[in-house]
């Protein structure tokens, strides 16, 4: 049987393909010919930069109150947060205008919205006087404990 001479050009071109595609191994099989080239680089960059990275066991839940923007409001000093789980109502009764709007000046103790839980409507009052600079919930929106509602500055 005729012994095939090594096709160096083929090996070289596979090696080039390895580089080009950032591979560590190519196995190539044609009729009667099989070539495998490999390069196992010491991979120094696999480690996490420091300490333990908490493994993400799953995509973060789609629960309310987790977007980056909302998280920013959570740390804002003027933010009024929900003291309970329930549904936000922005006006005293359906059809009536909302308690407050952006730009309104409010005084301490003024009702900003209602939160309904267990069929009870709980008024959420301004903890201090100031200007309403953001309304973070809309009428009928479910809210969880600690969720940012209104910003008064």
């Amino acid at each position: 049987m005729p012994k095939p001479p090594i096709d160096s050009a083929l090996v070289r071109s596979l090696a080039a393909l390895l580089d080009e595609n950032h591979l560590t191994e190519i196995e190539y099989e044609g009729s009667g010919l099989r070539i495998r080239v490999a390069r196992n680089l010491p991979s120094p960059m696999m480690m996490a930069p420091g300490g333990y990275a908490a493994p993400p066991p799953a995509p973060h839940p789609a629960g309310a109150g987790s977007t980056p923007a909302e998280n920013d409001w959570a740390h804002h000093p003027g933010t009024v947060k929900s003291p309970m789980v329930g549904v936000a109502y922005m006006s005293p009764e359906p059809g009536l205008p909302p308690f407050i709007g952006i730009g309104d000046m409010v005084s301490e103790g003024q009702t900003l919205l209602l939160i309904e839980a267990m069929k009870t409507f709980n008024p959420i009052r301004a903890p201090r006087g100031g200007k309403v600079t953001a309304v973070l919930v809309h009428d009928g929106q479910p809210v969880e404990f600690g969720e940012p509602l209104i910003v008064v500055e």
């Binding site: 066991p57 839940p61 309970m84 969880e144 404990f145 600690g146």
Partner: protein, 448 residues
């Protein structure tokens, strides 16, 4: 079947319930306190709702918040897990009144079994053997003698108004009885201003044996065998096994039959556990747990039935679909409760989990919400993981348990793994020769 279940609990049992739901194609809502925002089950659930600040009374015990969370997420059922609101009849009733299914028994059954006196009465009526007692005050020495004779020695004489061991005396033989009766009465008089005493059979070294029950809404009742939970420290179970090394096939069959008959008589539905003390071949009912139990996995291991799945199916109205004769038992299972505690002093050890590596391989199950980097909050129960091991025989199970404990790595907090490592090499435990006082005595001895 339900579309969405709200899990009104935390920790490993919340994850356990989430897994059962996921495997049934049911969506999950995790409710959590602000301390549990990063908990495993919260991260895995389809939806999550923060229901309050860390203290349990404001979050996991906050009925209104949990029901509001179920309402805003349109959950059609609530699984209460164990602890927290799981045996709160008012909560079960409120849930049902809000048109949400409570995954458990009726509020009436929870209420009945939640009160020691009505529970014992109901159990007695249903044919369960109870600890014999005077059923009221014992007035005279003659009465005491007659009663002690009929129930058998040793007996315990207790002040009706009592507590804290005051006015409590035991008599092991008839000639100790009169002395014990008199002393108890005078101590009771001195301590509580009331000399009235009653009498109960005194169990010296009983085992804690409990029977797992499943009952559907269509009259089917099965038991899933017993669990031996005698290894306790300060009345907290530490390690459970099934079957009990103390029961023979005859005793097992007998108590299983009695338990099923009682459940049928009570009209109870869903999962439940009848707890007994067992001494000298006799069972004595102590209480019924109308909920899932921490140690349910040992039963799952020996009978191959997913108890949480069955709870959900039953609550949704599905029939059990099998009879007692279809329930088959194989091998032996042991559960170790692993707490974030100092294994010597049992002081809680909350903190940040460093390395976390669970044992794997054949016959090993780990139920835990831990992960590397997780912060164990200081606000709740210290149980952080359960290791459940199954083997063809008790000895195989023990060998496997030893090797699995040896592979378990939890860094960053102290755990009770060393306690279990010690326990599985103790001769009495290996021989199955222990009662409900054994572990406490051993721990006290090593501390003293």
């Amino acid at each position: 079947m339900f579309d969405k279940i709200l899990i009104a609990n935390r920790g490993e049992i919340a994850l356990r319930i989430h897994r059962a739901c996921r495997e049934m194609g049911i969506k999950t809502v995790a409710v959590h306190s602000t301390a549990d925002h990063d908990a495993m089950h919260v991260r895995l659930a389809d939806e999550s709702v923060c229901i309050g600040p860390p203290p349990a009374r404001d979050s996991y015990l906050n009925k209104a918040a949990i029901i509001a969370a179920a309402t805003i997420t349109n959950a059609d059922a609530i699984h209460p897990g164990y602890g927290f609101l799981s045996e709160n009849a008012d909560f079960a009733q409120m849930v049902e009144e809000h048109g949400i299914c409570f995954i458990g028994p009726t509020a009436e059954h929870i209420r009945m079994m939640g009160d020691k006196i009505t529970a014992k009465h109901a159990a007695h009526e249903a044919g369960l053997p109870c600890v014999p007692g005077s059923d009221g005050a014992v007035e005279t020495e003659a009465q005491a003698q007659e009663l002690a004779h009929s129930m058998g020695y040793p007996v315990l004489i207790k002040a009706t108004a009592g507590g804290g061991g005051k006015g409590m005396k035991h008599a092991h033989t008839p000639d100790q009885l009169i002395d014990a009766f008199r002393t108890a009465r005078s101590e009771a008089k001195a301590a509580f201003g009331n000399s009235e005493v009653y009498m109960e059979k005194y169990l010296l070294a009983p085992r804690h044996i409990e029977i797992q029950i499943l009952a559907d809404n269509h009259g089917a009742v099965v038991h899933l065998g017993e669990r031996d939970c005698s290894l306790q420290r300060r009345h907290q179970k530490v390690l459970e096994e099934a079957p009990s090394p103390a029961l023979n096939a005859d005793a097992r069959e007998r108590i299983g039959r009695v338990a099923c008959a009682a459940i049928r008589k009570l009209g109870y539905r869903n999962a439940g556990t009848l707890e007994f003390l067992y001494e000298n071949g006799e069972f004595y009912f102590i209480e019924m747990n109308t909920r899932l139990q921490v140690e349910h996995p040992v039963t799952e291991a020996i009978c191959g039935i997913d108890i949480v799945r069955e709870q959900i199916r039953i609550a949704a109205g599905a029939p059990l679909g099998y009879e007692q004769s279809d329930v088959r038992f194989s091998g032996h299972a042991i559960e170790c409760r692993i707490n974030a505690e100092d294994p010597q002093t049992f002081a809680p050890s909350p903190g940040r989990i460093g390395g976390f590596h669970t044992p794997g391989g054949l016959g090993v199950r780990v139920d835990s919400g831990l992960y590397s980097g997780y912060q164990v909050p200081p606000h709740y129960d210290s149980m952080i993981a359960k290791l459940i091991v199954h083997g063809g025989s008790r000895n195989e199970c023990l060998m496997r348990l030893r090797r699995a404990l040896g592979e378990f790595v939890i860094e960053g907090v102290k755990t009770t793994i060393p306690l279990h490592n010690w326990l599985v090499n103790e001769a009495d435990f290996i021989n199955g020769d222990y009662d409900i006082h054994w572990l406490q005595k051993m721990v006290d001895r090593s501390a003293g």
